[in-house]
């Protein structure tokens, strides 16, 4: 526990150095509110682990004062490299990233099926990581760790998948299965949690201690950061918004229950309504059909508008409940989906405001962050970096 606390302190210092670009020890002490001796011990460990380096002293004394030039510290970007993988409905994104957060290589791989047997998924993943390594002249064993993001209910601590739409079985010890076929350790989490991690490290959540990320694609995901850490709940099933109920005995959800938010807002929910009438007019491909539906709605077609309208109101209700329950500083609607234009419209945000408990304090800020599908894989890579550096720092602490 004492060693854990020490590791945690070192990781906090490492993260601060990464975020700062370069920073002197005395400024680290101020920022993390620790004694100079503690900071010196922490940075000595990080230097020994090769994760950071000293750079030429620069004088940063205020004008008119003589300052002793101070040695600054910075990350060694290539001190370790990791891979991040996001499994989507019928494809998989793979990113190789270094400690500095630089993307070294990225590929997109088609999956044979939405649902795979655990062994097949492992096989496809290992092969794809190999393909992403190739152009860099690396093999998988040159990497320090792998992060994997999956939709569904994932117990990150155990690497256990209660259920995922990407697997044809429930209750899979996927981490063990991956580790049995991999030269580097795998770390798994729910994909929306990893988007929250990506927002925290690279995106709109930088420097914000408490925020909520909502994602919408085939399903609806939520990642919650409380006190700078992902909130996971007791069984690793926390922060589940998509299957929270917004209507007693409401619309049927693909999870088999009724009235889930997802059953009103997700891709399949919109298309289910569209199929009532517009079926023959829309493309077979769900992605294309959704785009066509959006075009119709924007052109003023009442039927199509009504579909987005209700979805937007249900989403607003879900967001208002998230604010009522978590009262976060910031909500990030993260992703780049066509339908966001309508779902994230001003009317939806106005509805959120009118359904939040009314106090004369400013509402949490709601930011829309449109970034590509790569963010999912980058989030997974960020998780891998975190775990790889945790291992490196713990080894140094134990050796000391």
């Amino acid at each position: 526990m004492i060693a854990d606390r020490r590791t945690k302190g070192r990781l906090q210092v490492l993260e601060l150095i990464r975020r700062s670009g370069q920073i002197a020890r005395s400024d680290i002490a101020t920022e993390v509110e620790a004694s100079p001796a503690t900071v010196t011990a922490a940075t000595a460990d990080l230097l020994a682990a090769g994760l950071i380096e000293e750079i030429a002293p620069v004088s940063d004394a205020p004008q008119g004062k003589r300052g002793r030039p101070r040695v600054a510290l910075r990350i060694v970007p290539n001190a370790c490299k990791v891979v991040g993988i996001k499994v989507s409905d019928r494809s998989m994104s793979v990113v190789i990233m270094n400690l500095g957060g630089e993307t070294l290589s990225e590929i997109e791989v088609d999956l044979p099926n939405s649902e795979l047997a655990p062994e097949s998924l492992v096989e496809v993943i290992i092969e794809a990581v190999g393909s992403a390594c190739k152009p860099l002249g690396l093999s998988m064993s040159d990497l320090s760790a792998a992060g994997l993001g999956l939709a569904g209910f994932v117990d990150a601590d155990r690497g256990f998948v209660h259920w995922s739409p990407s697997l044809n079985q429930r209750n899979v010890q996927l981490k063990s299965l991956l580790n049995a076929h991999s030269p580097i350790p795998f770390f798994l989490d729910n994909d929306a949690n990893l988007v929250a991690k990506a927002e925290q490290i690279f995106g709109e959540g930088q420097g914000v201690s408490d925020f909520v990320v909502i994602t919408i694609e085939t399903g609806i995901g939520m990642g919650v950061i409380i006190d700078n850490a992902i909130y996971r709940g007791a069984r690793g099933c926390g922060a589940e918004i998509g299957h929270s109920k917004v209507q007693l005995e409401g619309a049927l959800c693909r999870c088999g229950q009724r009235g889930c938010l997802e059953a009103y807002v997700a891709d399949y929910a919109l298309l289910r309504e569209a199929n009532l009438r517009a079926g023959p007019e829309l493309s077979q491909s769900p992605d294309d059909a959704l785009k066509e539906l959006l075009v119709k709605a924007k052109a003023g077609d009442a039927f199509s508008s009504s579909i987005f309208n209700r979805a937007g109101r249900m989403l607003a209700m879900g967001l208002a409940n998230v604010i009522n329950i978590f009262d976060p500083k910031l909500i990030i609607l993260s992703g780049e989906r066509m339908q966001f234009d309508l779902l994230y419209a001003d009317e939806v945000l106005d509805a959120v405001k009118s359904w939040v408990v009314s106090v004369d304090a400013p509402l949490p800020e709601i930011r829309i962050h449109k970034w590509g599908d790569l963010m999912w894989a980058k989030g997974a890579a960020s998780y891998a970096i975190e775990e790889a550096t945790r291992i490196a720092v713990r080894n140094i602490a134990n050796a000391a």
Copy 2:
């Protein structure tokens, strides 16, 4: 920050000693996972503050082994005394409690009105505390701190009331107002948060790091303990379940919005439906009317049963959403209300189970804890004890 961390560590040790009755330093070190030196320093401060005392050494070596008798530590129950106050709809409970958690005196005071002007409420509170002190031969200045629980949206850090049904104004700096009239510092919080505190210290939440408390009375309250601390959110408005929406454009709530859980489950919601037909048959007093309605429902009256039935299903939906979002280890339904018999019935709990995301892991335990109205005031007193000891320990730490 270093001093804060030290204070936090000492309070953790104090709480462990309180919970244990008596405990040796070496066992404290094991329990809090700290070094013997750290524990010795912490207990020295607590001894100096007069909050704990050493008791005669007892040998607790296992049979057949020779053990060196160890000095145990225990709380000095009367090291400080505090007052806890809970403001209810038309009454107020006041409890004087000592550091040992013993109730020294308790009184119940009628309020002239449900809604009071801030100055009037302060006056009534100060007078009631005086009355509770009297039989003990104490005056208010003999106490160390006061804790106050109010329904509504309370920012505990600032002691600021965004809104409370007990006040005829919004945005009241109630803490300053109280402190201006009181010889001892006041600490305010939302009343359900204080029930969670009471459950953590005296009730079903002892030793549980993460749990949720739900209360039902005139409104519906929720208190959330995450990592042993009350979760409050960014503006002090977090963990708001009563005004979370369970129905788009649903029943009108006393907050002015529609579809709030409270608008289906709270006392006034049940009576509003009952008044549709049963009005003339029920007593004028809301409490009596509710009891009569419950008797009718239990006797099989379809109209009355239907009222409780829908309320129960809406409550189940709210509880399922709490589980989906927080995934706590334990949910405590806390309180002693007539209608709980029906609202907390097996059918409601079964509905909760069927609406929680289904994973093959055990559901969080749901415990019903029926304890009297005094729990609210005891929760407020617990908060006062926590803050009073924090001040005492911080003073010692700063003096050292």
